[in-house]
Protein backbone atom coordinates (compact mmCIF):
# COMPACT_ATOMS: atom_id res chain seq x y z
CA UNK A 1 0.00 0.00 0.00
CA UNK A 2 1.41 3.37 -1.04
CA UNK A 3 1.89 6.13 1.51
CA UNK A 4 -0.85 8.10 -0.19
CA UNK A 5 -3.37 5.34 0.31
CA UNK A 6 -2.32 5.02 3.93
CA UNK A 7 -3.57 8.53 4.50
CA UNK A 8 -7.05 7.28 3.77
CA UNK A 9 -7.04 4.69 6.54
CA UNK A 10 -8.51 7.05 9.17
CA UNK A 11 -11.19 8.12 6.72
CA UNK A 12 -12.10 4.51 5.96
CA UNK A 13 -12.17 3.67 9.66
CA UNK A 14 -14.40 6.64 10.26
CA UNK A 15 -16.75 5.61 7.45
CA UNK A 16 -17.05 2.07 8.82
CA UNK A 17 -17.71 3.37 12.34
CA UNK A 18 -20.25 5.87 11.01
CA UNK A 19 -22.06 3.09 9.16
CA UNK A 20 -22.35 1.01 12.31
CA UNK A 21 -23.52 3.98 14.35
CA UNK A 22 -26.04 4.91 11.68
CA UNK A 23 -27.40 1.37 11.76
CA UNK A 24 -27.52 1.60 15.55
CA UNK A 25 -29.79 4.64 15.32
CA UNK A 26 -32.41 2.59 13.54
CA UNK A 27 -32.29 -0.34 15.93
CA UNK A 28 -34.72 -0.35 18.80
CA UNK A 29 -33.04 -1.99 21.79
CA UNK A 30 -36.45 -2.61 23.34
CA UNK A 31 -37.50 -4.76 20.44
CA UNK A 32 -36.64 -8.26 21.53
CA UNK A 33 -37.72 -11.39 19.77
CA UNK A 34 -39.85 -13.52 22.04
CA UNK A 35 -38.16 -16.63 23.38
CA UNK A 36 -41.42 -18.45 22.74
CA UNK A 37 -41.57 -18.11 18.96
CA UNK A 38 -42.31 -21.55 17.48
CA UNK A 39 -42.96 -22.91 20.94
CA UNK A 40 -46.34 -24.15 22.14
CA UNK A 41 -48.57 -21.81 24.06
CA UNK A 42 -47.86 -22.54 27.75
CA UNK A 43 -50.22 -24.72 29.74
CA UNK A 44 -52.51 -22.89 32.15
CA UNK A 45 -55.70 -23.31 34.12
CA UNK A 46 -57.14 -19.95 35.05
CA UNK A 47 -60.57 -18.43 35.66
CA UNK A 48 -62.42 -16.76 32.83
CA UNK A 49 -63.47 -13.16 33.28
CA UNK A 50 -66.96 -13.49 31.86
CA UNK A 51 -68.05 -16.59 33.80
CA UNK A 52 -66.87 -18.34 36.92
CA UNK A 53 -65.54 -21.35 35.06
CA UNK A 54 -61.89 -22.29 34.66
CA UNK A 55 -60.31 -22.26 31.23
CA UNK A 56 -57.26 -24.16 30.14
CA UNK A 57 -55.07 -24.23 27.07
CA UNK A 58 -57.23 -26.77 25.21
CA UNK A 59 -60.22 -24.41 25.38
CA UNK A 60 -58.50 -21.67 23.42
CA UNK A 61 -56.52 -23.46 20.74
CA UNK A 62 -57.75 -25.07 17.55
CA UNK A 63 -57.69 -22.19 15.12
CA UNK A 64 -55.37 -19.38 14.19
CA UNK A 65 -55.99 -16.63 16.74
CA UNK A 66 -54.58 -13.58 18.43
CA UNK A 67 -53.87 -13.53 22.15
CA UNK A 68 -53.96 -10.00 23.45
CA UNK A 69 -52.43 -9.24 26.84
CA UNK A 70 -54.21 -6.23 28.31
CA UNK A 71 -55.16 -4.47 31.52
CA UNK A 72 -57.24 -1.49 32.55
CA UNK A 73 -54.17 0.21 34.05
CA UNK A 74 -52.46 0.07 30.68
CA UNK A 75 -52.90 3.32 28.77
CA UNK A 76 -51.83 1.95 25.39
CA UNK A 77 -54.42 -0.81 25.73
CA UNK A 78 -57.13 1.82 25.61
CA UNK A 79 -55.55 3.17 22.44
CA UNK A 80 -55.57 -0.17 20.68
CA UNK A 81 -58.98 -1.30 21.93
CA UNK A 82 -61.08 0.22 19.10
CA UNK A 83 -58.88 -1.47 16.55
CA UNK A 84 -59.30 -4.85 18.25
CA UNK A 85 -63.07 -4.32 18.05
CA UNK A 86 -62.63 -3.72 14.34
CA UNK A 87 -60.53 -6.87 13.88
CA UNK A 88 -63.18 -8.95 15.62
CA UNK A 89 -65.78 -7.59 13.21
CA UNK A 90 -63.55 -8.75 10.37
CA UNK A 91 -63.73 -12.22 11.86
CA UNK A 92 -60.30 -12.50 13.48
CA UNK A 93 -60.55 -14.57 16.68
CA UNK A 94 -59.02 -12.72 19.62
CA UNK A 95 -58.55 -14.10 23.10
CA UNK A 96 -57.84 -11.73 25.95
CA UNK A 97 -55.36 -12.25 28.73
CA UNK A 98 -56.42 -9.83 31.44
CA UNK A 99 -53.04 -9.27 33.01
CA UNK A 100 -52.67 -8.34 36.69
CA UNK A 101 -55.96 -6.53 36.78
CA UNK A 102 -59.11 -6.21 38.88
CA UNK A 103 -62.05 -8.21 37.53
CA UNK A 104 -64.57 -5.45 38.25
CA UNK A 105 -62.50 -2.82 36.44
CA UNK A 106 -61.97 -5.14 33.50
CA UNK A 107 -65.67 -5.97 33.16
CA UNK A 108 -66.61 -2.30 33.30
CA UNK A 109 -63.98 -1.55 30.63
CA UNK A 110 -65.44 -4.17 28.31
CA UNK A 111 -68.95 -2.86 28.88
CA UNK A 112 -67.96 0.70 28.07
CA UNK A 113 -65.56 0.11 25.20
CA UNK A 114 -66.98 -3.04 23.66
CA UNK A 115 -65.73 -6.60 23.97
CA UNK A 116 -63.60 -7.83 21.09
CA UNK A 117 -62.57 -11.01 22.90
CA UNK A 118 -63.87 -14.53 22.48
CA UNK A 119 -63.16 -14.92 26.15
CA UNK A 120 -60.83 -13.43 28.69
CA UNK A 121 -58.37 -15.38 30.76
CA UNK A 122 -57.91 -13.84 34.20
CA UNK A 123 -54.21 -13.74 34.94
CA UNK A 124 -54.44 -11.87 38.22
CA UNK A 125 -50.97 -12.67 39.54
CA UNK A 126 -49.26 -12.59 36.16
CA UNK A 127 -48.29 -16.27 36.14
CA UNK A 128 -49.42 -16.88 32.56
CA UNK A 129 -47.77 -13.59 31.64
CA UNK A 130 -44.53 -14.86 33.14
CA UNK A 131 -44.78 -18.12 31.19
CA UNK A 132 -45.41 -16.12 28.01
CA UNK A 133 -42.44 -13.84 28.67
CA UNK A 134 -44.67 -10.78 28.90
CA UNK A 135 -42.82 -7.72 30.11
CA UNK A 136 -45.46 -5.07 29.65
CA UNK A 137 -48.97 -4.73 28.29
CA UNK A 138 -50.12 -4.56 25.59
CA UNK A 139 -48.58 -7.55 23.90
CA UNK A 140 -50.21 -9.57 21.16
CA UNK A 141 -49.36 -13.14 20.25
CA UNK A 142 -50.25 -14.84 17.00
CA UNK A 143 -50.95 -18.50 17.69
CA UNK A 144 -51.55 -21.09 14.98
CA UNK A 145 -54.18 -23.81 14.88
CA UNK A 146 -51.86 -26.26 16.59
CA UNK A 147 -51.35 -23.92 19.54
CA UNK A 148 -47.85 -22.86 18.55
CA UNK A 149 -46.84 -19.23 19.05
CA UNK A 150 -45.76 -17.75 15.72
CA UNK A 151 -45.28 -14.10 16.45
CA UNK A 152 -45.26 -11.65 19.31
CA UNK A 153 -45.95 -7.96 18.91
CA UNK A 154 -45.06 -5.66 21.78
CA UNK A 155 -47.07 -2.45 21.89
CA UNK A 156 -50.22 -1.19 20.28
CA UNK A 157 -51.77 -3.14 17.43
CA UNK A 158 -53.09 -0.59 14.97
CA UNK A 159 -53.97 -0.67 11.33
CA UNK A 160 -50.37 -0.33 10.21
CA UNK A 161 -49.10 -3.14 12.45
CA UNK A 162 -51.93 -5.38 11.36
CA UNK A 163 -51.54 -4.66 7.66
CA UNK A 164 -47.75 -4.81 7.54
CA UNK A 165 -46.88 -7.52 10.04
CA UNK A 166 -49.71 -9.52 11.54
CA UNK A 167 -52.09 -9.92 8.63
CA UNK A 168 -49.56 -11.44 6.19
CA UNK A 169 -48.54 -14.00 8.83
CA UNK A 170 -52.16 -14.61 9.78
CA UNK A 171 -53.10 -15.30 6.15
CA UNK A 172 -50.15 -17.63 5.72
CA UNK A 173 -51.15 -19.61 8.79
CA UNK A 174 -54.77 -19.73 7.67
CA UNK A 175 -53.77 -21.11 4.32
CA UNK A 176 -51.51 -23.61 5.99
CA UNK A 177 -48.34 -22.21 4.47
CA UNK A 178 -46.29 -22.32 7.62
CA UNK A 179 -43.22 -20.12 7.22
Amino acid sequence: MGPRLKLFIPLILFAVLALFLLRGLELDPREMPSALIDRPLPEFTLPSLESDTLVNRDAVIGEVALFNVWATWCVSCRVEHPYLNQLTQQGVPIYGVNYKDEDQDALRWLQELGNPYRLNIVDADGSLGLDLGVYGAPETYLVDAGGVIRYRHVGVVDERVWRDILQPLYQELLEGRVP
Binding site: A35, G126, L130
Partner: protein
Protein backbone atom coordinates in the same frame (compact mmCIF):
# COMPACT_ATOMS: atom_id res chain seq x y z
CA UNK B 1 -20.32 29.09 56.75
CA UNK B 2 -24.02 28.55 56.13
CA UNK B 3 -23.27 27.80 52.53
CA UNK B 4 -20.86 25.06 53.54
CA UNK B 5 -23.44 23.55 55.84
CA UNK B 6 -25.96 23.58 53.02
CA UNK B 7 -23.46 22.00 50.66
CA UNK B 8 -22.63 19.26 53.14
CA UNK B 9 -26.32 18.59 53.76
CA UNK B 10 -26.96 18.40 50.05
CA UNK B 11 -24.08 15.98 49.65
CA UNK B 12 -25.32 13.82 52.50
CA UNK B 13 -28.83 13.72 51.04
CA UNK B 14 -27.35 12.02 47.99
CA UNK B 15 -26.50 9.03 50.14
CA UNK B 16 -30.00 8.81 51.52
CA UNK B 17 -31.58 7.92 48.19
CA UNK B 18 -30.36 4.33 47.77
CA UNK B 19 -31.55 3.40 51.24
CA UNK B 20 -35.05 4.49 50.27
CA UNK B 21 -34.95 2.26 47.20
CA UNK B 22 -34.93 -1.00 49.15
CA UNK B 23 -37.63 -3.18 47.71
CA UNK B 24 -39.57 -6.06 49.23
CA UNK B 25 -37.79 -8.51 51.50
CA UNK B 26 -38.12 -12.25 51.59
CA UNK B 27 -37.62 -14.59 54.51
CA UNK B 28 -35.36 -17.43 53.47
CA UNK B 29 -35.23 -20.73 55.23
CA UNK B 30 -31.46 -20.61 55.29
CA UNK B 31 -28.50 -18.32 54.74
CA UNK B 32 -27.28 -20.09 51.63
CA UNK B 33 -30.57 -19.55 49.77
CA UNK B 34 -30.45 -15.87 50.59
CA UNK B 35 -26.94 -15.59 49.19
CA UNK B 36 -27.96 -17.39 46.03
CA UNK B 37 -30.95 -15.07 45.78
CA UNK B 38 -28.69 -12.01 46.00
CA UNK B 39 -26.34 -13.49 43.45
CA UNK B 40 -29.00 -14.56 40.94
CA UNK B 41 -31.07 -11.40 41.19
CA UNK B 42 -27.92 -9.44 40.32
CA UNK B 43 -27.22 -11.76 37.35
CA UNK B 44 -30.68 -11.47 35.82
CA UNK B 45 -31.54 -8.51 33.67
CA UNK B 46 -34.90 -6.80 33.94
CA UNK B 47 -36.64 -7.31 30.55
CA UNK B 48 -38.54 -4.04 30.82
CA UNK B 49 -35.87 -1.65 32.01
CA UNK B 50 -32.97 -3.37 30.27
CA UNK B 51 -30.12 -1.54 31.93
CA UNK B 52 -30.92 -2.73 35.42
CA UNK B 53 -30.78 -6.13 37.00
CA UNK B 54 -33.90 -7.39 38.69
CA UNK B 55 -32.41 -6.69 42.12
CA UNK B 56 -32.24 -2.96 41.38
CA UNK B 57 -35.40 -2.47 39.43
CA UNK B 58 -38.76 -1.34 40.71
CA UNK B 59 -40.58 -2.37 37.55
CA UNK B 60 -43.55 -4.70 38.17
CA UNK B 61 -41.99 -7.35 35.96
CA UNK B 62 -38.81 -7.28 38.03
CA UNK B 63 -40.91 -7.76 41.16
CA UNK B 64 -42.60 -10.77 39.55
CA UNK B 65 -39.27 -12.26 38.58
CA UNK B 66 -37.87 -11.77 42.09
CA UNK B 67 -40.94 -13.44 43.53
CA UNK B 68 -40.57 -16.36 41.13
CA UNK B 69 -36.87 -16.56 41.91
CA UNK B 70 -37.64 -16.71 45.62
CA UNK B 71 -40.26 -19.42 45.11
CA UNK B 72 -37.93 -21.50 42.98
CA UNK B 73 -35.10 -21.23 45.48
CA UNK B 74 -37.38 -22.33 48.30
CA UNK B 75 -38.60 -25.22 46.15
CA UNK B 76 -35.02 -26.38 45.90
CA UNK B 77 -34.27 -25.57 42.25
CA UNK B 78 -30.63 -25.41 41.25
CA UNK B 79 -29.05 -22.25 39.84
CA UNK B 80 -28.95 -23.64 36.32
CA UNK B 81 -32.57 -24.79 36.53
CA UNK B 82 -33.60 -21.28 37.52
CA UNK B 83 -31.57 -19.68 34.74
CA UNK B 84 -33.00 -22.15 32.21
CA UNK B 85 -36.49 -21.26 33.37
CA UNK B 86 -35.85 -17.55 32.88
CA UNK B 87 -34.13 -18.01 29.50
CA UNK B 88 -37.03 -20.18 28.25
CA UNK B 89 -39.36 -17.25 28.85
CA UNK B 90 -37.30 -14.14 28.28
CA UNK B 91 -34.47 -15.39 26.05
CA UNK B 92 -30.70 -15.12 26.44
CA UNK B 93 -31.33 -11.43 26.87
CA UNK B 94 -32.28 -11.92 30.49
CA UNK B 95 -28.77 -13.09 31.41
CA UNK B 96 -26.17 -10.44 32.05
CA UNK B 97 -23.57 -13.05 31.18
CA UNK B 98 -25.08 -14.83 28.18
CA UNK B 99 -24.05 -18.41 27.61
CA UNK B 100 -21.63 -19.34 24.87
CA UNK B 101 -23.53 -20.26 21.71
CA UNK B 102 -23.49 -19.56 17.99
CA UNK B 103 -25.33 -16.30 18.50
CA UNK B 104 -23.15 -15.08 21.36
CA UNK B 105 -19.80 -16.38 20.07
CA UNK B 106 -18.88 -12.99 18.59
CA UNK B 107 -19.70 -11.33 21.87
CA UNK B 108 -17.46 -13.65 23.85
CA UNK B 109 -14.59 -14.01 21.39
CA UNK B 110 -14.33 -10.48 19.98
CA UNK B 111 -12.41 -8.92 22.92
CA UNK B 112 -9.78 -11.67 22.87
CA UNK B 113 -9.44 -11.63 19.10
CA UNK B 114 -9.18 -7.84 19.06
CA UNK B 115 -6.50 -7.97 21.75
CA UNK B 116 -4.50 -10.54 19.79
CA UNK B 117 -4.91 -8.48 16.62
CA UNK B 118 -3.79 -5.31 18.40
CA UNK B 119 -0.71 -7.00 19.87
CA UNK B 120 0.13 -8.48 16.46
CA UNK B 121 -0.21 -5.12 14.78
CA UNK B 122 1.90 -3.41 17.44
CA UNK B 123 4.67 -6.02 17.07
CA UNK B 124 4.57 -5.64 13.30
CA UNK B 125 4.84 -1.86 13.47
CA UNK B 126 7.64 -2.00 16.06
CA UNK B 127 9.62 -4.53 14.05
CA UNK B 128 9.31 -2.52 10.86
CA UNK B 129 10.43 0.61 12.67
CA UNK B 130 13.50 -1.25 13.93
CA UNK B 131 14.36 -2.50 10.42
CA UNK B 132 14.05 0.77 8.55
CA UNK B 133 14.51 3.35 11.24
CA UNK B 134 17.17 3.41 13.93
CA UNK B 135 20.48 5.26 14.39
CA UNK B 136 21.67 4.76 10.81
CA UNK B 137 19.01 7.09 9.52
CA UNK B 138 19.63 9.78 12.08
CA UNK B 139 23.11 10.49 10.76
CA UNK B 140 23.38 13.16 8.14
CA UNK B 141 24.58 12.44 4.65
CA UNK B 142 27.67 14.25 3.34
CA UNK B 143 25.57 16.73 1.37
CA UNK B 144 23.44 17.49 4.42
CA UNK B 145 26.58 17.98 6.55
CA UNK B 146 27.89 20.46 4.07
CA UNK B 147 24.62 22.36 4.01
CA UNK B 148 24.52 22.45 7.80
CA UNK B 149 28.03 23.87 7.95
CA UNK B 150 27.25 26.55 5.42
CA UNK B 151 24.08 27.51 7.31
CA UNK B 152 25.99 27.70 10.61
CA UNK B 153 28.69 29.80 8.99
CA UNK B 154 26.11 32.09 7.58
CA UNK B 155 24.39 32.65 10.89
CA UNK B 156 27.74 33.20 12.68
CA UNK B 157 28.90 35.79 10.18
CA UNK B 158 25.46 37.35 10.26
CA UNK B 159 25.37 37.96 14.03
Amino acid sequence: MNRYCAAVLLLLSCFVMPAAAVIETYEFSNEELEQRYQHLSAELRCPKCQNQNIADSNAPIAQDLRKRLYQQLEEGASDSEILDYMVARYGEFVLYRPRFSGATAVLWLAPGLLLVAAIGLALLVLRRRKDTGGPADSELSAAEQQRLHSLLDESESGS
